[in-house]
Symmetry: C2
Subunit: 326 residues, 2 copies
């Protein structure tokens, strides 16, 4: 039973936890009563608010590749996924939690850079790093929980879209998938800070604005427009038509990438037919891309009006991670 | 870019999510305003309460082995780890979240049995399954988040022990490690429902009672007494002495297992010197095992009075998972 007697592994784990605890102290949020260092974190939800909780897995070879994605970018991207979910409810971040499975031979430098990417974004976005867990794993695996808060009963759900509502997106579509296509093709892409594939931005301010100004349904574009709009339609029991000609395509993206490419982390939302919106929200361009219709006798909930004006089914194709290649 | 066009993988994932969503509906908690089916879960914390959040990783080959631990027991054990953290704060469970990385060739039967173990315990303990994430992984990896609630400012922290406090544990020690020792030795052990290695029980009712009756510090015994008592001492800035002769040892456990064996999920707690406690709390025997002392000029915070009455350092050895063997 020497497993119970040797101390090296526990100490290594404790050293890493101590390092994370020090880093976490730079990411305060007044809602975190007690962060790392006890059996559980204690959060104080603001008066008349409800708590949001979202979890996102990031697994090496599935959600990122070490040869493509620098460690710092991995830390940033993982946290963005959860922040974007909070944005899509119209909430503000409170705290994040990091569960980390690490291969024994992973360089400590990788872990440090990963933590830097995560903690920098946590500080900027107000999501204090408040806890987590660490273990061995064969490949790097990261599970990030983000908690947020939203005024009670005011969260913008996927289920609020009604026939006659207009459909909008923030920003541009297909940019992240366009970079991924280049990476698959063997093209060197420098992971610049302003590249939305490597350093995506959760639309937190726009999400709050939209909650305050009557968005009826909202989701973030993590899986791709065709999948995520189908989610809104399923939860709202409606159908929808998207106009190809209106889609705000990112540079280097094409129609397929704009419709099915994931990880743009833009917001897809609906508003009542007569609602008036500015052209930009919280500094981000918004674009009307289609309309919500009553449910019809068709299994395909989303239809596409193509560039020639023909309307046909838009199947939810969406994001396949890197599953084919690892 | 066929990755974006094929639908098989997304549908398989969605089918599994639908199955989990149906199962989750059997695990309601009034604090869960919105569970699976949106970007984030929405939780309503009871008035004048704070929220607890804890995360626990369970990785195949590290925290469990498929040949030793039936899938149903894995689901139960993973959730128990988080419930036990909530118990150790004196809280009550509200919701749990399941992030699941699954190898493509894993039999669906394994997943179904795992979910049954998890959902059964979630229902019993009042921790509604309210969300999560799914991905591919090389080995099974599970991250479980448990949220709970506790009256504001009343959580029992690790940091509240003071010199003169008495140290207690619930239940018996070393039982889980004794089974593990048998498994390592190649002995067949039937995973009976009343076996605390396979189906450990979080001491939730005892935790609430202890919070209401003045426990000064508390932690759950997940890593082993020597490690977990050192955590209380570190956070409380005190030292402690444990009496070997007083330790309530489980059947088949020896002193080493009682001191260093993990995963008993009993509660280790302190009370003021003059506090009066019953012999059982919420149906569970409690045992006084030592006392808290002022901080001394020694790196070893915990000392052991051995069976001969000699006092020496008790090094935090603790729990090494299965790291040596996988």
């Amino acid at each position: 039973m020497s497993e119970f007697m040797e101390t090296a592994v526990v100490l290594a784990e404790r050293k890493l936890i101590e390092r994370i605890r020090r880093l976490a102290q730079t990411t305060g949020h007044r809602g975190v009563v007690r962060g790392i260092g006890d059996d559980a974190a204690i959060l104080q939800v603001a008066k008349n608010h409800q708590l949001l909780v979202t979890t996102d897995l990031c697994i090496e070879g599935v959600h990122f590749r070490r040869e493509w994605h620098p460690a710092r970018c991995v830390g940033h991207r993982c946290l963005t996924r959860g922040l974007s979910d909070v944005a899509a409810m119209g909430g503000e971040p409170v705290a994040c939690f990091l569960s980390l499975g690490l291969p024994p031979k992973l360089p400590q430098r990788w872990v440090d850079d990963f933590l830097k990417g995560l903690v920098d974004l946590a500080s900027q976005s107000g999501a204090a790093l408040a806890g987590g867990d660490i273990s061995y794993a064969d490949k790097i695996m990261i599970d990030i929980v983000v908690t947020g808060q939203v005024p009670a009963k005011k969260a913008v759900l996927r289920s609020g879209a009604r026939s006659g509502d207009r459909i909008f997106v923030t920003g541009e579509l297909g940019g992240s998938a366009a970079v991924l296509k280049q990476l698959y093709a063997g093209t060197q892409v420098t992971p610049m800070k302003n590249n939305r594939h490597f350093y995506p931005v959760a639309r937190l301010d726009a999400g709050v604005w939209l909650r305050q100004h009557g968005a009826t349904a909202m989701i973030d574009l993590s899986d791709g427009l065709s999948v995520d709009l189908a989610h809104i339609c399923a939860e709202s029991h409606v159908h929808a038509t998207v106009d190809a000609v209106r889609l705000p395509m990112a540079e280097a993206a094409d129609l397929v990438l704009a419709l099915h490419g994931g990880e743009d982390y833009e917001l897809l939302f609906t508003v009542r037919g007569k609602a008036k919106l500015p052209s930009k929200i919280a500094g981000v361009q918004i674009t009307e891309i289609g309309e919500i219709q009553p449910p019809a006798n068709s299994r395909t909930r989303v239809r596409l009006r193509d560039l020639n004006g023909r309307v046909g089914p838009l199947k939810p194709a969406g994001w396949q991670h890197f599953s084919k290649t690892c």
